[in-house]
């Protein structure tokens, strides 16, 4: 199974949900800034088709980011990042091209600030190093474009000044999102290292298991064995009783061995090969979260899961359905949908009205 990337979205799916909203807000602002500045600096444009293409490109970048960053399409990949950044840089180039030779003032160009706004939420979705590399590439491209355009500027300043003015938004946004990603990630790693399951809880679980087992033995088995040891003699009746107790205890032990985490969810499960036991902790968290969130205990609901063992993979189908006719709350499901999509190598999810269907596969 491929190992999920080390991003904040993977560690904390809830952050990904909030960042998705910020990505949409940033995209709307970026496109709005581009439109306003296009009309404000219309006297500097010599090619309207290029200017319009630039607006289309920045809109496409924002729309793509808004879609790809959705928890229902998680995780946001390197390829997604490359598409968003390339479309954005293309928009910067088209904006510059539409004014090449007629651009008199660089600081009213919309390309760099619009790109920075579109990328506002990207820090949560990608690793720090990638954000830095992307910023470096973007700044290099933007600075080069600024230098190319400089011959038409009305002022006569060192070229580095134009480059600095041009890269300011993208550099500031790029470095700060990289810091955001790094700081988030380090904090969450500390959180993960502490672990949610502290020593007190472990001790409580141990005590529960111990007491449960002793309870099962304490009524009859242990007193019987003690009495045999104390008397030092075995009667025929004792032998028969030992056989019966052994049979009962064997049945109880088998039942306990057969217990699975999936049974605790209280849903209908078809898992003849006990394949649920082969899910990792994160995969279990995702499935458990989905089921617990979708199946409101106060609402009559039907839930079922079927796991089929194939040669090298286990294929599962999870269906959650509300019977009260209400729609499933997509917002509440979002973090777990993101987890399912991140931690299972193959996933397809469908949410329609009150029914959620998740088809997933994982290594056998």
């Amino acid at each position: 199974m491929s190992i999920p990337e080390r991003t904040v979205q993977v560690l904390s799916p809830v952050s990904g949900v909030v960042a998705h909203r910020i990505a949409i807000g940033g995209g709307v602002l970026g496109v709005a800034a581009a439109v306003v500045l296009t009309f404000q600096g219309i006297d500097q444009i010599h090619s309207f088709p290029l200017a319009m293409l630039g607006l289309v490109a920045i809109t496409a970048s924002a729309v793509y980011f808004g879609i790809a960053a959705s928890p229902f399409r998680a995780p946001f990949t390197r390829l997604d990042h490359a598409v968003v950044a390339s479309l954005g840089l293309g928009a910067v180039a088209l904006n510059a091209g539409s004014q090449l030779g007629t651009n008199t003032i660089i600081r009213d160009d919309w390309g760099p600030p619009a790109l920075a706004l579109v990328l506002l939420g990207v820090g949560i979705f990608r690793p720090t190093i990638e954000l830095i590399v992307c910023s470096a590439i973007s700044c290099t491209v933007i600075a080069s474009i600024a230098v190319l355009e400089s011959s038409s500027f009305t002022s006569r300043l060192p070229l580095v000044t134009y480059a600095l003015v041009a890269i300011t938004p993208v550099l500031a946004m790029g470095v700060s999102t990289a810091v955001l990603s790094s700081a988030f990630f380090r904090a969450y790693e500390r959180y993960a290292a502490i672990g949610a399951d502290g020593p007190e809880l472990r001790a409580a679980v141990e005590a529960t298991v111990r007491e449960r087992r002793l309870e099962a033995l304490g009524d009859e088995v242990l007193p019987f064995l003690t009495s045999v040891v104390e008397s030092g003699v075995l009667t025929e009746r004792d032998s028969l009783r030992a056989r019966r107790l052994a049979s009962e205890l064997r049945a109880v032990t088998v039942a306990q061995l057969d217990e699975s985490w999936i049974d605790e969810l209280g849903i209908e499960v078809h898992d003849p090969s006990r394949s649920a036991e082969r899910m990792s902790g994160e995969q279990r968290s995702a499935i458990r979260g989905l089921v617990q969130t979708a199946v409101d205990p106060d609402v009559a609901a039907r839930a079922s899961m079927r796991l089929t063992d194939h040669d090298r993979a286990i294929v599962g189908t999870l269906v959650l359905e509300r019977r009260d006719g209400e729609r499933l709350d997509r917002g509440e499901l979002a973090p777990y949908i993101a987890m399912v999509r991140t931690f299972f190598p193959t996933v397809r999810t469908e949410v329609r009205g009150g029914t959620l269907r998740v088809i997933f596969a994982y290594d056998a």
Binding site: V14, S155, A187, I194, L234, Y336
Partner: protein, 394 residues
């Protein structure tokens, strides 16, 4: 569930700290670029480095302290906020002597400073005066240049779109974060709770397996022996074994403490073979026995206990009185094969039929990170391969 609030707090604090660091970085980058641009146009614009430096420190450094050092005193926060406003005034005043060098002129430097001012102060104050803080700060960035540059010098006022974008962006982020806060806190709680349940479930499952193995190796074995022992006085070794099992289960640490095998039952492979011989099974050993000595004591004890269960199965089910044990392996893993030429078996339909193999062999080895593989054909004997990971040399 006592740990949950702490973990939730950690996760939320992580988010808040990361946002603070990012905003501070954004402002510091803006400040650095401001300096770089100021340096590049100094010759033309005649700007004062000293004035700019002082203004920058007041404008940016002081709110950064607020952001990163978590200053809680309202009066100190107010003083630092005023310092920041004075810093912006200094920036604006320090560049007013500029008389038109065209592009990248001081008004752009003012723009950068203004955007940094709005962003960093907005991030510091929005919790205290939600939604009002950012418009007020933005108004200051418009008002201060009007008072200190536009009106005294009678120059045209120019709308600063860049600062407006910074202010609106921050406002959008604040609105989204505020709107999502209640719901995302509930989601944080729910995800944390689910992860906790899974961790506890995994721990419980591991302990249940261990408990099953112990119950099987002690009580179930003793009951099986009593069920097949003829009536009459107990043999001393049966009585001793019963006492050992009862004594183990009466201990507070019977689940996680040393297994009964560690106390008396197992002294090593030779003892195990001797015990089998006493019960009527002749066992021959071949291969590299020395590999067992490279494993730690607890691992050897668990492995031998699994081997003993396999030999017990040979005695009980195979119809044979001989078996072979082969030890082989490498630096990465050690395997023990238990082979008999008995009646063999097919995979049981009733799992209770092979509880010893499951509870006492498979789960035991899985806990050690190893595995148990079984090959058996009716009439053609059985081979069980027990494998545990090798341990790194110390």
């Amino acid at each position: 569930m006592t740990a949950v609030p702490l973990e939730e707090a950690l996760e939320r604090r992580a988010a808040a700290d990361a946002i603070r660091s990012a905003v501070a970085t954004w402002s510091i980058v803006m400040l650095s670029i401001t300096f770089a641009i100021a340096a590049s146009v100094t010759a033309v614009a005649g700007l004062s480095y000293v004035a700019l430096a002082l203004a920058s420190v007041a404008l940016i450094a002081s709110p950064c302290v607020l952001l990163l050092r978590r200053v809680r005193s309202p009066s100190i926060r107010l003083i630092i906020g005023l310092l920041s406003v004075i810093g912006l005034i200094g920036f604006v005043s320090g560049t007013q002597s500029f008389n038109g060098a065209g592009e990248a002129q001081p008004d752009y430097i003012i723009t950068l400073a203004s955007a940094a001012f709005v962003t960093i102060n907005g991030s510091v104050t929005w919790r205290a005066v939600p939604l009002l803080a950012i418009p007020v700060l933005y108004a200051l960035t418009v008002f201060i240049p009007l008072v200190f540059v536009v009106w005294p010098n009678d120059v045209p006022w120019r709308f600063d779109l860049f600062t407006a974008i910074a202010a609106v962006t921050l406002l959008v982020v604040v609105v989204v974060v505020r709107a999502s806060r209640q719901r995302s806190q509930a989601a944080f709680d729910a995800v944390t709770e689910v992860r906790l349940q899974v961790e506890q479930g995994a721990h419980r499952s591991q302990l249940e397996s261990r408990a099953s193995a112990i119950v099987h190796d002690t009580v179930l074995n003793e009951l099986a022996v009593l069920a097949t022992t003829p009536p009459g006085p107990l043999r001393p070794e049966v009585r001793r074994q019963l006492q050992s099992s009862l004594s183990h289960l009466s201990r507070e640490d019977w689940l996680l403490g040393p297994a009964p095998s560690d106390e008396a039952t197992h002294g090593g492979l030779d003892d195990l073979i001797d015990r089998c011989r006493a019960r009527g099974l002749e066992v021959s050993v071949s291969g590299e026995r020395g590999l067992l000595t490279a494993l730690s004591g607890p691992v050897v004890a668990e492995l031998l206990r699994a081997v003993e269960q396999c030999l017990t199965n040979v005695l009980k089910h195979s119809g044979e009185t001989t078996a072979e044990v082969v030890v082989l392996g490498s630096a990465d893993e050690v395997s023990v094969m238990v082979i008999d030429d008995g009646v063999g078996f097919v995979e049981p339909t009733d799992p209770g039929d092979r509880i010893g193999l499951r509870a006492s062999v498979k789960t035991r080895l899985e806990e050690l990170g190893g595995s148990a593989q079984i090959w058996s054909t009716p009439g053609a004997g059985t081979s069980v391969v027990l494998t545990v990971p090798g341990e790194p040399a110390r």
